[in-house]
Structure formats: C-alpha cells, structure tokens
Symmetry: C2
C-alpha cells in the first residue's frame, strides 16, 4: 500500500548463526560504550558498527539495555573465571588462596588497562550512570559470592575471624569499586603533570586498603598482600600516559 517497489536491497548478506550474530553485536556495542559512553551511543550507532538493521537488532535484543547486560556480564564472567582459576591452582592456606584470587583480578584489570582508562574517563561524564551502575552490579554479583565462600573457608580453617562473611565480602567489593574514583583523580593528576605524585598516592591508597581488609578479616596487619603498593601505583599512573581521544 505504501511501498511501490520493495526491492532495493543492499547486499546478499551472509548469514551468521544466532550466537555469532549476537556476539558480533555485543562486540560492536562494547567498543562503542567504552569509547563514547552509554547515552552518547545510539542504537543507530550500534547498527552501523555491527552492520545490521533495526529489525535485525531487535530480533536478537529486546532493548538497548539488553546490550548492557550482555556486555557487562560477559566481562564479569571472564574476570571471575580467571580469578577462580588462579585460586584453584594455588596450593596453600586460605589466606594464600585469597591473595591469589585478588592478585588475579588485579592482573586481569591490568591487562585491560585501556578499557579501564576509558572507564575512568567516563565516570566524569554525565549520561553514564546506568553503565557504571550495571558494571558495579555485575562485579558485585560475580565477586561477592566467591569472596564470601573464601572467607567462610578461611573461618572454617580458623584463620579468618570475620564478624559476618557476607557483609565482609560486600565491604571488600565496595572498597575495590570505590577505588575507581581514586584512580580517576590520580589519572587526572598524572595528566596534569604530576605522575610520580599520583603513583605515590595510588600506592598509599592500596596499602591502606589492604590494611582495612586485614582488619575486616580479623588478621594481623600485613597478612593480606595481593600486590606491591609501589608497583601498583606506578602501573596505574602509567595508564595516564596513553591518552584517549573522543
């Protein structure tokens, strides 16, 4: 009734399996989200990047927000799987395994320094609240149970003495999440021309953080040690060198 001719197709498009198509769209979305943020990316952008039409997109995803869940939970699963693997292949007491787990998550983050750098920038910009909230939620969902189980293990072994395993797990995750803001400020400082000061501050921060975790677990100071403060500070401050262009 409305279309006289309905045949100006573009190309005879090769078809992917649903899973591959879904993954391809998620890949495109991930790149765009980390580059431009949540609000700034329209579904039209994702459509162009993934080279698919509106109809095709909404065939695989029910809404724009589905992209978030997909991207974020994929990342969180990868991170926790890596950390869990590292912990499992570690022989030693509960504390040693605990440190191995946290060290692995830090390593995972270090390997993704570029994305992290983008995230650190994004949290300053409005319109990304949803993205950040979903990242935090996914991290919590994935990490808290793992931590809680390890803490219970340690308590059963008689090494940890947490007032409440779940609450302690949540507190630890909260600490690592709010580290993001410290990192952001440090990156700003490093960009402003004081990289060594930023590195020192980050090192001091991670030292204080591990001291807090000692206390939360009822351990003597210096028990928890999943990274070298100086190294950590330097590594994070180095992130500021590679600049992001929007």
């Amino acid at each position: 009734m409305l279309s006289e001719d309905t045949h100006p197709r573009t190309a005879p498009r090769r078809r992917l399996t649903p899973e591959d198509r879904r993954a391809a769209i998620l890949d495109a979305a991930q790149v765009l989200f980390f580059a431009k943020g949540w609000d700034a990316v329209t579904v039209a952008d994702v459509l162009a990047e993934a080279r698919i039409s509106k109809g095709g997109f909404y065939h695989h995803f029910s809404a724009k927000e589905d992209l978030l869940d997909g991207v974020v939970s994929r990342l969180a699963e990868q991170a926790v799987a890596a950390a869990e693997a590292s912990r499992r292949q570690c022989e030693g007491d509960a504390l040693t395994r605990f440190n191995a787990f946290l060290a692995a998550t830090n390593r995972w983050k270090a390997e993704r320094a570029t994305e992290l750098r983008f995230i650190a920038d994004m949290i300053r910009r409005p319109g990304n609240e949803l993205l950040l909230q979903r990242i935090d939620a996914a991290v919590r969902r994935a990490v808290v149970p793992a931590l809680e189980a390890m803490i219970r293990d340690g308590a059963a072994e008689g090494r940890f003495d947490p007032p409440d395993p779940k609450l302690v797990a949540e507190a630890i995750v909260s600490l690592t999440i709010s580290r993001r803001e410290v990192l952001r400020d440090a990156i700003a400082a490093a960009d402003a021309g004081a990289p060594e000061a930023a590195a020192a501050r980050l090192g001091a921060h991670i030292a204080a953080e591990t001291a807090l975790v000692d206390r939360l677990l009822g351990l003597p100071p210096g028990s928890v040690h999943y990274c070298d403060p100086a190294e950590f500070g330097q590594m994070m401050a180095d992130m500021a060198c590679g600049h992001a262009a929007y």
Copy 2:
C-alpha cells in the same frame, strides 16, 4: 507568521519570587520522583504538578537533571545538618560524639520512613539508576568529609586508630549505602508474610555492621553503638506494613 492570535492566556497567575518558584518546582519534583521514579516522571508531569509552563520551567532549570541535583542535595544537606547539630550539642569523647552523629542520621531516616520505603521499592525497578546514583553521590559528598573529620579528631585524641581516615570514612558510608539492598530484601520478606524473620535479619545485619566499624576504627568490639539492633530491625520491618500504591 504562524500564530494568528496570541492571546488565549489561561489565568492572570500570581508571581512568586524566583527562589520560591524554584522551591515549589523542586517540591513537586521530589513528590513525583519518590512516588514514580526517575524515568517514569516526565517534565510534563512536573509541569502539571507545579502548575507552570515549559518555558517557565526552563527559565529556572536548565534540564530535567537539574531537578535531581536540587532535590537530592537539599535532602542531603538537611540530613547532615541535623546530624552535625546533634554531634555538636553532645559532650563527651570522640567515640560518644561519633555515635551521636550516626544515631542522628538514623533518626533522620526513621522520620522519613515513608520516603525511604518508596526508595526501597524503586531500586528494584529499572529506570531509576540515575536517581539512586545521585542520591548515593550526594550522601557521600555530604557525609564522608564529616565522618573523616570526626575520625581524625578521634585519632588525635588517641581513641581511634584508623589506617587511613578518609578511606575508613568512605568504607563506613559504603556500608550504610549498601544497607539499602538489605533493607529492600527484608521489606520483601516482610511483605511476603515473615515480618519477625525480617526484623531479626535486619537486627543481625546492623549488629554485624557496627562490629565492622569497630574494627575499621581500631576499637575493641562493642565500642560503636548508635542504635539497638533489635529496635532497629523492628522499626525497619514495620516499614513494610504501610504499603505503597503507584
């Protein structure tokens, strides 16, 4: 050119001072946000509730998000002012004043149980991420410096022994913020018909939380005590009785 007649005005409207008009719009927005959430409230809704036009609204606020900042920072300022007042009029050592401060914030929340109840419902519903994030940010902005100052005081007095005052302050605020989710679950449980179990769980939670704060501040167990766990649990569980209709 496009409007033949431009005179069908509605009413000769009394004019308010800019501050009063702004406050009136904020009042309307606050009611709506806590009743329906962020995404569900359109500026048109606010316009109707505040009985003002689009043009008038955008004369006082630059964007819908300005409403959030206004509403949220107003609330946070009120809360902290109340808590600070309570602390100042308290004679005693740093720990006593600390407890007075936290007790006052709890009392302030209890007085606003209705709004809190709405918030506890809202965090389940999508579209409120921005609202919640802003509330958290405002709470952090307002409370962390106050806590940090008190912790430094206590450390100077030789009573507290925090590894890092600012970090400890942030950890404490993180704990109180994440309490929201515990409260949400408890309310759900109470609504589902197990109010006494919910009260018990809330009591246990706040007990564990204060124990954590003891440790963070380097105090012996039982030092921090800003509410009675049983009372707190009961009070919060009671909130579930009054139901919210959307």
